[in-house]
């Protein structure tokens, strides 16, 4: 039976709706993996069978896969773009085929916005602003920070940088020592941080990472340096823009300063639910944002621990 939020007057019976999902691939990071797991579980729970494709982070392949889904005449399509700009022509083809389109998690470029029916997911810019505020508060508006950014070319990385810098640039006493791409990879975060420590040593007061995966890599590097006496314990404030479970633990203990809550389960469920509604013919808001509150030791207990 259809869930109660499903429109009573649907264009198509609930059971017959085919959802196509062209995703960028779980290879992106732990968040994406948790998202897909949740998505599949939710689909099973609802009794719908989505057609999933994995672009393995290749924009050209993703465009091909979107066309594969058009060929299968899906009723509604979700796309998590590898590249917000490169998805535009394929998105237009989706629109031409009369298929409603949801862009999930990572925005499509402005130029393709008319092809998109609705966006669901985080507001990356706002999230980064939130992280910026946390960092500014952690440093009392004064100090040196290093930035560990996301995958080069991935739109989210840019937004997470711009939003953060918008806030930080209001504090003339906060200086950015350097910024390097950590590829959304923990190992890379660790390696880069080790080099930052050698280069800047005790100058570093704060580390902003694109998400907890990268941030935890940086923390691991700092721990080793603390053990060796190169750094003082507790001096560096670690902040990132998407909280993973293990960082939730560390915020509780105080070793990690703060992060931003963003739930892959909510993200996935929102996308699927919105897709089904669209297929039924319901009108949606153009932007359906997730709640992304900032998290520090002060409020960590009010937020449930992410399980990824």
């Amino acid at each position: 039976a259809p869930p109660d939020w499903f429109p009573k007057e649907s264009k198509k019976p609930f059971e017959e709706i085919v959802v196509g999902f062209a995703n960028l691939g779980p290879s992106l990071n732990g968040y994406a993996a948790a998202y897909f797991k949740a998505f599949n579980e939710y689909a099973a729970e609802l009794g719908v069978k989505p057609i999933m494709t994995d672009a393995a982070l290749d924009p050209a392949r993703q465009a091909d896969q979107v066309r594969d889904l058009i060929a299968q005449q899906v009723d509604v399509m979700i796309v998590w773009p590898v590249n917000g700009k490169a998805i535009v022509p394929a998105a237009r083809q989706v629109a031409q085929a009369g298929i409603p389109l949801i862009i999930s998690n990572s925005m499509i470029d402005e130029s393709g916005m008319e092809a998109m029916t609705s966006y669901t997911g985080p507001d990356d810019y706002a999230e980064a602003q939130e992280a910026g505020k946390i960092m500014a508060a952690a440093l009392n508006g004064k100090g040196n920070i290093v930035l560990l950014n996301g995958t080069p070319g991935y739109r989210m990385a840019q937004l997470r940088y711009d939003g953060f810098m918008e806030v930080i640039s209001k504090y003339p006493d906060i200086k950015v020592l350097d910024s390097q791409p950590a590829d959304m990879s923990q190992a890379k975060g660790q390696t880069l941080m080790e080099n930052f420590i050698t280069r800047f040593g005790k100058q570093i007061d704060g580390v902003y990472s694109v998400d907890s995966g990268v941030g935890f890599g940086a923390l691991t590097a700092a721990r080793a340096a603390i053990q060796e006496g190169t750094l003082e314990a507790g001096k560096i404030k670690f902040v990132d823009a998407t909280m993973y479970g293990f960082v939730w633990d560390l915020i509780k203990t105080g070793e990690y300063y703060g992060s931003v809550y963003q739930s892959p389960e909510e993200d996935a469920r929102l996308a699927l639910r919105s897709a089904l509604k669209l297929a039924a013919g319901e009108k949606l808001k153009q932007f359906e944002y997730l709640e992304t509150p900032g998290v520090t030791k002060a409020n960590v207990d009010t937020i449930s621990r992410p399980n990824f």
Binding site: D64, A71, G153, Q158
Partner: protein, 328 residues
């Protein structure tokens, strides 16, 4: 053919004929088998839209693989093509403000230039092409990122994307262009001195040198051609996606080489051709498309593709394999 009678036997049995056919077209048979299988499994497979889809999906890897074929036949390899795709895609988009013509020409020139540099280093410095192009792959990628940054570029000139979206009936213009280029390269390999010399160089380089063939020139020309095809791929990708990023074409070199080898071109050189490469590109595209239509979980696709790759290699060894030396 025997020790004493070298004339081709006209009275070859029909079984021999079949065998020869299978031998030179094994990968086409694989493509055919896959197509039959998937059309039985999915009603969508043989729809015009999907057929045109599969053909379109051949184009990018196909362009690279066609360009790579002469390079491999001459006994070399080019690992830098994926990076060239990223570079030229960025060039053709970034230079649009100077006019589309300028942008396209600059991208083509950049591809040829990289090819020439590859060829020159290989020939004049005597370094193995695997190493040279491995280095170039890393270097070009680095340069592109350094020049463009961690961003993607939107195509501002709509003509580029509009061209890519043109179609003749259900067949995309890009496919037609690709088919034309493949025919030209195939023709050059088979019917021109450059093509035959390419085979000679890969088959026995010192023989080619001794015969007075200007070996270096042919090798460099093949690298340049390969770079040109990679540039065309980069332009086509930027056109098709209406955007460009330095990361475009990542791992495509491996996909292209896989297609070349599956197509029956010998990695040591001297043997092969465009027809086989085309068949392999098609077979791989059908496989991916079909698995998709069958709703196979994306998690399983790398495993299936890997297994099919190995099975195809094993089968090729069975039909085409060198007489194996016992004990070796």
């Amino acid at each position: 053919m025997s020790l004493a009678t070298d004339r081709l036997q006209p009275s070859a049995t029909s079984f021999d004929g079949l065998k020869t056919f299978i031998r030179s077209n094994s990968v086409w048979l694989l493509a055919l088998a896959l197509a039959v299988f998937f059309s039985l499994q999915s009603a969508f497979f043989l729809t015009p839209f999907n057929i045109s889809n599969v053909l379109t999906q051949c184009v990018f890897v196909g362009l690279l693989a066609i360009g790579m074929t002469p390079v491999v036949i001459s006994g070399n390899i080019d690992l830098s093509v994926g990076a060239v795709v990223g570079l030229t895609a960025c060039i053709v988009v970034a230079l649009q403000p100077y006019g589309l013509g300028v942008a396209v020409l600059a991208a083509l020139a950049a591809g040829v230039l990289v090819g020439l540099v590859n060829g020159l280093i290989v020939e004049k410095m005597g370094i193995s092409s695997f190493i040279v192009t491995l280095a170039m792959m890393s270097g070009i990628r680095g340069l592109t990122f350094l020049a463009i940054g961690d961003i993607s570029l939107s195509s501002t000139d709509d003509r580029l994307n509009a061209f890519a979206m043109l179609a003749i009936g259900p067949i995309s213009i890009v496919v037609v262009l690709f088919a034309g280029l493949a025919a030209v390269v195939g023709f050059v390999l088979r019917f021109t001195p450059h093509g035959r010399n390419t085979f000679a160089i890969g088959g026995n380089r010192s023989a080619a040198v001794d015969a007075g063939i200007a070996v270096s020139r042919h090798v460099i020309a093949n690298f340049a051609l390969c770079g040109l095809m990679a540039a065309i791929c980069g332009i086509a990708m930027a056109a098709n996606l209406g955007a460009a990023a330095p990361s475009f074409g990542r791992d495509y070199e491996l996909l292209a080489i896989t297609a070349v080898v599956l197509g029956g071109t010998r990695l040591q050189g001297g043997k092969g051709g465009v027809t086989g490469t085309l068949g392999a590109v098609l077979a791989l595209a059908i496989l991916r498309n079909g698995l998709n239509l069958l709703r196979v979980s994306p998690f399983y696709i790398p495993v299936i593709v890997g297994v099919v790759l190995i099975i195809a290699l094993v089968l090729d060894r069975q039909v085409n394999g060198q007489a194996m030396r016992h004990g070796e």
